[in-house]
């Protein structure tokens, strides 16, 4: 078993529980923005893609890495952008009432 596995497993289990506790508090009102935001956060995969594409390696890893960079980065940009656009639309009545 590789050295990092157990510590990664600790991190995975803790993050999973933490995610569960935090996310189940999100109001159903915001479930669509939630999905858009977690997509954007998941796009942090881009940091791994940058290393795959940029380190010394074969032509294949350059191509696959570059594909991954483009795919993940578009998710990051698009995900944050649309989450913010959606959240800006959620307004309280207030001024609408007479």
């Amino acid at each position: 078993m590789p050295e990092g596995f157990i510590s990664n497993l600790y991190v995975f289990v803790l993050a999973g529980f933490l995610g569960f506790e935090v996310i189940r508090r999100v109001s159903p009102l915001l479930h669509t923005p939630l999905m858009a935001l977690t997509n954007a956060l998941d796009a942090i995969v881009v940091v791994a893609a940058i290393i795959i594409a940029g380190r010394q390696g074969s032509q294949l890893s350059l191509i696959l890495g570059a594909i991954a960079v483009a795919a993940a980065f578009s998710n990051m940009i698009g995900g944050f952008l649309i989450t913010d656009r959606m959240l800006r639309m959620f307004k309280l009545s207030g001024r609408k009432k007479q």
């Binding site: 935090v22 594409a53 890495g65 960079v69 980065f73 649309i82 307004k91 009545s93």
Partner: protein, 468 residues
């Protein structure tokens, strides 16, 4: 073990610290999303965390070639901005597309790692990589199919054939078998690409038979798979930031999928392999003449204008007809008359979790008027008019009363308890699920036949004309 990524220099520490801060920011980001008041702050801190992580990655001493990274980032930017600017009605298919991109990114990195490491790859690493690539590849094509269905490039109805589940499981079994052989012989010729292709095929077969009405669950499940893929990639690369981000994304998708399933009283297995709404042996037998009461926009306007409390129940039909702005005009007019108007939102109304809320928020309906199913049901006995716009199964009383109904046991918004029920619908044709709805034949139900947008427009015209 993959030592190249674990290379530690002082610059590498900088990267690691920035990743840890990024993770903390991501968790805060999700925490602040819990309420609309703090949610935008959550997006901002998430952006700061992500930007920091990306920038400090460039300090990694392993990086030797930059040109293609920059070109790829530019391409990502060019694709990402329009994907962030889509219309709110297109959000479900946009979400499916972003699941596809997320799965693609993680899967191709796994593929690249395999070719980078062979032949020096141990059983453990091979297990991790195979699992990561299989789930990533099937989520990629599965999400593409889902996006195609939501965009209506593919038919939304379930596409099924005889023995489908057996064939699908055989294909999945073939992928698993390839992985198993690879674990013992990582250099088996052509087997790795074969495993990738089989997994891609399985993704197509998994989502094709699923109907439009089940899309909220499927989108959430694919979300969970994409998160799981990212976390597995974190194990492969020994990268904790990926493990955490993947676990957060995965648990979010999983929670949403559970909520969607509960809201339909169905299991994951049933959604994935049940091909709902295809083989509908509609409740025949009692083909007696059923009486339907219908009304014109003028009559509907008169009843709405004379009421004190109105509950609107929107569904996918409102999105299809693009009626949300007309609905908001109606909301404004009735509210101005002092009528209490609220919107009852069923968790699976629409094509993805929260779909209706976003559409109505875009149309400027204040979010404190959007209430959840349980609250809507609590207020139902005091409701004068329940106005159903483009929803069907989520208001079907048969779910409570008719044990033979395919949706028996599904929690519904009990609109039949309101004094008057109005249903805007094109015709009496049953919805996607093909389930007959006894609501339409109740004595206190008025059917408003027509296109949702023009019918609501007609009511609005009548109400504003009458006010002058």
């Amino acid at each position: 073990m993959n030592t190249s990524i674990m290379h530690l220099s002082s610059l590498q520490y900088l990267t690691d610290f920035s990743y840890i801060i990024a993770i903390a920011f991501f968790i805060l980001s999700l925490k602040w999303l819990s309420s609309p008041a703090t949610a935008r702050r959550g997006v901002l801190i998430g952006e700061i965390g992500a930007a920091m992580a990306v920038v400090t990655t460039f300090f990694n001493p392993d990086l030797v070639r930059f040109k293609w990274i920059l070109i790829a980032l530019l391409i990502g930017l060019i694709i990402g901005i329009p994907l962030g600017m889509v219309q709110m009605t297109a959000v479900p298919q946009r979400t499916a597309m972003s699941h596809a991109f997320g799965a693609l990114a993680a899967a191709v990195i796994g593929i690249s790692e395999y070719y980078m490491r062979i032949p020096h790859i141990n059983k453990f690493e091979m297990t991790e990589i195979s699992l990561e690539v299989i789930i990533g590849a099937l989520s990629f094509t599965g999400s593409l199919i889902a996006a195609g269905k939501l965009q209506e490039w593919l038919p939304q109805r379930p596409i099924v054939y005889k023995g489908q589940n057996y064939i699908s499981f055989t294909v999945l079994g073939a992928a698993a078998l390839s992985a198993l052989i690879l674990i013992f012989n990582p250099v088996a010729p052509y087997l790795f690409p074969a495993m990738v292709i089989i997994s891609l095929l399985f993704g197509v077969m998994l989502v094709t038979p699923i109907g439009g009405a089940d899309m909220p669950t499927v989108i959430a499940l694919l979300n969970a798979y994409v998160g799981l893929t990212a976390a597995l990639l974190g194990f492969v690369l020994n990268s904790k930031v990926l493990v955490v981000a993947g676990a957060l994304d995965g648990s979010s998708g999983f929670i949403l999928a559970v909520i969607m399933c509960k809201a339909m009283n169905r299991s994951f297995t049933n959604v994935l392999f049940g091909a709902f709404g295809q083989i509908q042996v509609a409740a025949k037998g009692e083909e007696e003449e059923k009486v339907v009461h219908s009304a014109s926009p003028e009559e509907a306007a008169a009843i709405l204008g004379a009421s004190n409390t109105v509950l609107v129940v929107p569904g996918y039909g409102m999105a299809v007809a693009q009626a949300q702005h007309r609905v908001r005009e109606l909301f404004d007019l009735l509210t101005k008359k002092g009528i209490d108007v609220k919107f009852g939102i069923h968790p699976v109304a629409g094509r993805m979790p929260g779909h209706m809320n976003v559409l109505l928020a875009e149309a400027d309906v204040p979010y404190d008027k959007l209430i959840e199913m349980d609250d809507a049901n609590g207020e139902m006995p005091q409701t004068d008019v329940a106005l159903i716009i483009g929803a069907n199964d989520v208001v079907n009383p048969a779910a409570k009363t008719d044990q033979s109904s395919p949706i028996y046991g599904m929690p519904v918004i009990e609109v039949d308890k309101a004094r008057t029920v109005m249903v805007i619908k094109r015709s009496l044709n049953p919805g996607f699920a093909g389930i007959d709805n006894p609501l339409f034949y109740l004595d206190n139900t008025l059917m408003l036949f027509g296109d949702a947008k023009s019918f609501v427009g007609g009511i609005v015209k009548e109400l504003s004309g009458g006010g002058d």
